[in-house]
């Protein structure tokens, strides 16, 4: 999602091929060394893998760059790319885990993660000031996912008191590329995934998921 959001931001013409992670096609496994998405195919032959490498490449090819040119600032930002990835991993377990213990462990980990992000954020619009930089794109998927489960997140007070973090999230989600940088049925697919694995989150919030189901039926009826 971070790559897609960046490509939308930078107005890059790109063809997209979606694949199923549970049934990866042969052609994909032949070209993706770690069998992960996203990969960027340039022309016919050149394959770039790893989202952060792809993002920096896109940024460099489409000036003005939104990544700093200062070696220390760049290094600090790259450290945050990795931290954002760690948050996403923890969120994924929080959302999809079937075990209560794992759910609560990752809820606590997330709290610590979000506390750290709150510390990093200044009272500015984005992570590095008033201008957007590459590191902000790494945080977009975090806020997109938090918004899918907003009532649950509010109920378990995961983001309570993190005023800078919440404001940052609002700023990011307002960006056009934030909306354009994901498939229209993203929320539906995530919720469907949660339901399928019957995760702890799903089992402990039946009302929320029922209301989502009703809403989607209503929309289908229109």
């Amino acid at each position: 999602m971070r790559v897609l959001a960046l490509m939308c931001y930078k107005n890059i013409k790109v063809e997209i091929k979606f694949i199923e992670m549970y049934s990866k096609p042969e052609w994909f496994l032949k070209i993706s060394p770690l069998a992960r998405v996203p990969i960027l195919i340039i022309g016919d032959d050149i394959v770039l893998f790893e989202s952060d490498a792809i993002m920096e490449y896109i940024d460099e090819m489409t000036p003005p760059q939104i990544m700093s040119s200062d070696p220390i600032q760049k290094a600090l930002d790259r450290g945050k790319f990795e931290y954002a990835s760690e948050i996403i991993k923890n969120m994924s377990i929080f959302v999809f885990s079937q075990e209560e213990e794992k759910f609560f462990k990752h809820k606590e980990l997330l709290k610590t993660n979000l506390e750290q992000v709150e510390k990093w954020l200044q009272d500015k619009k984005y992570m590095n000031g008033e201008q957007i930089s590459l590191v902000d794109f790494c945080f977009i998927p975090i806020f997109v996912n938090l918004s899918v489960f907003k009532p649950i997140i509010q109920q378990c007070e995961l983001t309570k008191n993190f005023t800078k973090f919440n404001k940052y999230g609002e700023n990011l989600l307002q960006l056009p590329c934030s909306k354009a940088g994901r498939v229209p049925d993203y929320e539906l697919l995530v919720v469907e995934g949660v339901r399928k694995v019957n995760s702890y989150l799903y089992r402990s919030n039946p009302c929320f998921f029922k209301s989502l189901q009703q809403n989607s039926h209503c929309q289908q009826g229109k």
């Binding site: 340039i42 770039l48 460099e60 290094a75 790259r78 450290g79 990795e82």
Partner: protein, 240 residues
């Protein structure tokens, strides 16, 4: 290099990611201080400054903390020209992706080495063999991954070959026996001066000690060697 900033590397003695950074620092002759910590008992001061609690971490001056081995390597490379990283955006991107690949293959190798369950041990071995093919493919007939000159991506594979060498010399098992290019590349990489000085002198001892003390599959398949130093006759790693 800007001498205003003192560089302190926080590392763990057998951590392969710490080894990557140490190797680059030796290659580039960077002046720095090193602090070793125990990863099963991380000190409070370290947990306060390292967001993910991982080594290595580079402290610049008093306050700036860089984490992630690939990030630190690129930073060091940039402040100590001539750079080992290419300038071309596409080549840079490809190399950065390979840094991550090297992290993953090293992680799997260490999981293999310290596996305590037979099933996991065999699975890891298969994963490794499958992924060695990628590096073999990238090398083609070149001396280094990017041609005739050493680049940063070569140094990111150093811990892989150092660990494989340790396995080869302690147990007569050559995991690279079917990978001709990798063998040559590995021998060459591990004989670079920065690779020798880029690890603690007791690396092999500490690794073997860890293999033994965690009652790993490796240990259980060769207890005589680990207890008496008697080298196994045949290749041990591929016995089921």
């Amino acid at each position: 290099m800007d001498k205003r900033f003192k560089h302190t590397l926080v590392a763990h003695k057998i951590c392969p990611y710490s080894m990557k950074v140490l190797t680059v620092m030796r290659h580039k002759n960077v002046k720095f201080e090193i602090k070793f910590i125990e990863t099963h008992n991380k000190p409070e001061w370290f947990l306060r400054i390292s967001p993910l609690g991982n080594v290595p971490v580079l402290i610049i001056g008093e306050e700036i903390v860089l984490s992630e081995s690939a990030v630190i390597m690129e930073y060091i490379d940039e402040i100590t020209p001539p750079k080992l990283m290419p300038d071309d955006p596409l080549e840079k991107a490809i190399d950065r992706a390979k840094f991550e690949f090297s992290n993953e293959i090293i992680r799997n190798l260490y999981t293999f080495i310290f596996s305590t369950e037979q099933e996991k041990f065999v699975r890891q071995k298969e994963w490794l063999m499958k992924h060695f093919k990628w590096i073999e493919e990238w090398l083609k007939d070149k001396k280094y991954i990017n041609g005739n000159e050493l680049s940063l991506v070569d140094l990111s594979f150093v811990p892989l070959f150092v660990a494989l060498n340790m396995l080869k010399s302690t147990l007569p098992c050559d995991m690279l026996k079917d990978f001709k290019r990798l063998k040559i590349y590995g021998e060459m990489i591990t004989s670079l001066p920065c690779v020798k000085t880029g690890r603690v002198p007791d690396y092999e001892f500490l690794m073997i000690d860890g293999i033994k003390s965690q009652n790993t599959v490796l240990y259980r398949s060769n207890p005589c060697y680990f207890n008496n130093g008697a080298k196994p006759q045949g290749c041990c790693l591929f016995r089921n």
